[in-house]
């Protein structure tokens, strides 16, 4: 049997409002920095185009497939927080999916942050614990498998996650750690054996996530029968298809036929005896690690480089990252929960991503996802906010 393991990332950052050099927070930094109206409008739009129709489709598929259908999600804490604020029905719909028993939820950092890259892993660990709380309280589940922001992975992160008791971790199946080996097996980190690593098959994943609606693609149009054939032909024990949930309806508009594609896939897969759906935990329970991987430097699923350069390539991003990281003590010392929350919301990777200047190769993606006209405006706004936060905490 060969597993087909879908995991969808569900995330919304808290976007900043316009904050200028002369603006000052009056002591409610979350309200003063973040643009509730804009975040609400975007959330509502994505809920309507993606979350509701996609969740409904998944529920229908679970019904129709007699529970043979399996998928998994990772919901960021900032997503859950906004869902609760702006559209509680979205959370209800994920709870319903959780109840089917066919859906697994993964653990991540509450803030969808880059804290895993901090040398001192305390902040990272706390953000994972915060996510654990919100998943238990709001969705009613306790995840066994961890996924990090942007699938960022290195030996240190693997060690922290294993120590926290997780049995598996998902990351990018890049050649940088695999060499010529296939992503379609479980691996374990050579530095911390005993935790299983699921690697994204990025070709087959990106065929759906990025290329599905691309009329210039030589495989366009992609129908479910062809895709099932590709899955059947892909050698190994598990094909890990990891992508943003917004693939359905946002990145690929419904007019591309993306929903119909997914709806037909289980049926087309039934034509191949050895294909079955599985969740990451089912993969971990049924498969052994086939080899070891070593990640002394961080890898991720972002951009063509599959490293952390989308978030930390230029000096603006590095300044922002270092400044945020280093003000932890000052923030905690205030004992002010709003300040702490604002500081952590500012760690969300999207803020760094907006400042990416890798225009010419990957620029289109960055521009598409950014609320700013360009990375410099993004940085200026972010700089103004963190400068004000520094003032608030006396750092």
């Amino acid at each position: 049997m060969k597993n087909v393991c879908f995991y969808f990332q569900v995330h919304q950052p808290m976007r900043l409002g316009r904050f200028r050099a002369f603006d000052r927070s009056c002591g409610n930094p979350v309200d003063d920095y973040f643009d509730t109206e804009k975040n609400k409008a975007i959330f509502k739009r994505v809920a309507e185009r993606c979350y509701y129709p996609a969740n409904d489709m998944m529920l229908r598929l679970i019904d129709a497939c007699g529970r043979d259908f399996r998928i998994s999600y990772s919901l960021s804490g900032t997503f859950i927080e906004q869902a609760l604020l702006f559209d509680g029905g979205v959370i209800d719909s994920f709870r319903e999916l959780a109840k089917t028993g066919c859906v697994e939820f993964l653990q991540e950092t509450y803030y969808h942050s880059l804290a895993g890259l901090y040398e001192d892993q305390t902040e990272f660990t706390e953000q994972v614990a915060e996510h654990k709380r919100v998943m238990r309280n709001e969705i009613g589940v306790t995840p066994r498998v961890f996924r990090n922001t942007e699938l960022i992975f290195d030996n240190r992160i693997a060690g922290t996650i294993k120590n926290l008791g997780y049995e598996g971790i998902v990351t990018e199946g890049t050649e940088r750690i695999l060499g010529s080996r296939l992503p379609n097996y479980l691996y374990e980190p050579s530095s911390v054996p005993g935790i299983k690593v699921l690697l994204k098959n990025y070709r087959l994943s990106d065929d759906v996530a990025f290329r599905f609606g691309d009329r210039g693609w030589n495989e366009y149009p992609l129908f479910a029968d062809k895709y099932a054939r590709w899955l059947a032909a892909s050698p190994g024990e598990t094909i890990n298809l990891f992508m943003d949930y917004e693939t359905f309806g946002e990145h690929q508009w419904k007019e591309t036929g993306i929903f119909g594609f997914m709806e037909k896939l289980p049926e087309e897969m039934r034509g191949y005896d050895d294909l079955r759906f599985a969740t990451p935990s089912e993969c971990i329970d049924s498969l052994e690690a086939k080899g070891r991987i070593d990640a002394p430097f961080a890898i991720s699923w972002a951009d063509s480089e599959r490293d952390v350069s989308a978030c930390l390539d230029n000096r603006m991003q590095q300044y922002a990252f270092n400044t945020l990281r280093d003000m932890r003590d000052a923030v905690l010392k205030t004992g002010n929960r709003q300040i702490k929350h604002a500081w952590r919301l500012l760690q969300t990777s999207d803020h760094y991503y907006y400042c990416s200047t890798k225009f010419f190769a990957d620029g289109d993606v960055h521009t598409y996802f950014s609320p700013y006209d360009n990375p410099y405006d993004a940085f200026i706004n972010y700089l103004n906010v963190i400068t004000d936060l520094q003032r608030l905490v006396g750092y």
């Binding site: 002369f22 000096r315 603006m316 200047t357 990375p375 940085f379 200026i380």
Partner: protein, 395 residues
């Protein structure tokens, strides 16, 4: 391929007073490199000859009341003597015309267009008119002179093809002059970056706080907005320093404004800066600002960028529309202008990112590209003169 062009100029190095002369020199040099012969008509100057060093073209000096600047610094220089000189020059060009084998006659701005119109009428040579700036730009939309507008419109209506130095200008020609899109081609100027590239590169670590305005002190260039923004910057960055380089009719009111705002000690009016000192000015500054109300192209923006200086420009500049690594603001939005200047003064990282990227980006504006595209416009003009119209979508 056009083999011979008759170009009607107004100024030419070394007798140069504006960007028009540089444009003609660089354009004709590149045209002749690509195999086209150019007959260049210009006024005979009182002192000295034009020089044999312009061996790439045949210069035909036309006796006229020479030594006049087509774009005098102040309105009151637009006196009747000046206009009479322009009339006389244009008439003499027609009398002296000898380029009967030219396939195209190419004029620049209203100042030379009358001759072009008449040559086109008499000899049927297709007419190309480059618009470097319009009366609306020069007046900043404040009391433009109708009769100049009429000359400009007549020239564009007669021309078989019109070159606008940007899409900003192209749109102006469509909106204000009613010229159809199909006959206007946007062709950007070039820049010879070697003259501005600082040896060894800029040191962004150095912590000066100097902000530079380098343009004529006319309404068009928006110096009042610069001073108003300076006040707002100084409220946040007390040790910032502002240099106003250039002369013009607004000097008095600008000094008055700086007194009114209480910041005369932070603003240095340095007057006209000769070409050979401009490089030092760029090198000694941290930020370049050009808040033009309407700037058809804005070559000095590229010069600043070539020297690695981060630029803040209004969103109503021609070259700005094609730049990614320039910060743009509406010219009247002095809050946002100040916000961006403050960020640049505070963040070495921002200066470095934008300065380095801008330095690379400005290299895409080459005179070879400009000449190449101009040549294509010549070909279109010849076709248009033969009744074939076709600028699909414009430049």
């Amino acid at each position: 391929m056009i083999k011979r062009v008759a170009m009607i100029g107004w100024e030419f190095p070394p007798f140069i007073s504006g960007g028009l002369g540089v444009h003609c020199l660089m354009l004709t040099r590149e045209l002749s490199r690509s195999g086209a012969g150019v007959d260049f008509y210009m006024p005979r100057m009182d002192e000295g000859g034009v020089g044999s060093h312009h061996s790439h073209l045949k210069i035909i000096e036309v006796p006229a009341s020479g030594g006049i600047n087509p774009y005098p610094l102040t309105k009151k220089n637009y006196d009747s003597n000046f206009f009479a000189a322009v009339e006389e020059y244009n008439a003499r060009v027609v009398e002296s015309f000898e380029s009967f084998d030219a396939e195209v006659v190419h004029c620049h701005d209203w100042i030379t267009v009358k001759a072009g119109i008449e040559i086109n009428r008499r000899y049927g040579i297709p007419l190309v008119l480059t618009i470097h700036s319009t009366e609306y730009d020069r007046s900043a939309f404040f009391m433009p002179q109708d009769w100049i507008i009429d000359v400009e419109r007549e020239g564009m209506n007669t021309a078989d093809a019109v070159i606008a130095v940007s899409n900003w200008t192209k749109n102006m020609l469509m909106d204000k002059y009613g010229i159809p899109s199909v006959k206007i081609y946007a062709v950007y100027n070039g820049i010879d970056v070697s003259a501005f590239a600082r040896v060894g590169g800029r040191d962004y670590e150095q912590g000066g706080k100097r902000v530079l305005f380098l343009a004529q002190l006319t309404r068009q260039k928006g110096p009042r907005y610069f001073i108003t923004a300076a006040k707002k910057v100084l409220d946040e960055v007390g040790d910032a320093e502002f240099v106003v380089a250039g002369k013009g009719e607004m000097l008095g009111e600008l000094i008055e404004l700086s007194l009114e705002l209480g910041i005369p000690h932070r603003i240095r009016f340095v007057g006209f800066v000769p070409d050979d000192e401009i490089m030092d000015l760029y090198n000694d500054s941290e930020v370049y600002v050009l808040p033009s109300v309407s700037e058809p192209f804005g070559i000095s923006i590229l010069e600043a960028m070539a020297s690695g200086l981060p630029v803040v420009v209004s969103d109503s500049t021609g070259v700005g529309e094609a730049l990614k690594n320039a910060l743009k603001v509406p010219y009247w939005d002095t809050d946002e202008m100040a916000n961006k200047i403050i960020a640049l003064l505070k963040s070495r990282e921002l200066r470095e990112c934008i300065g380095n990227s801008g330095k690379t980006e400005c290299r895409k504006f080459t005179w070879a590209k400009c000449a190449n595209e101009t040549m294509r416009v010549y070909e279109s003009a010849v076709q248009a003169a033969n009744g074939i119209v076709g600028n699909e979508g414009g430049g």
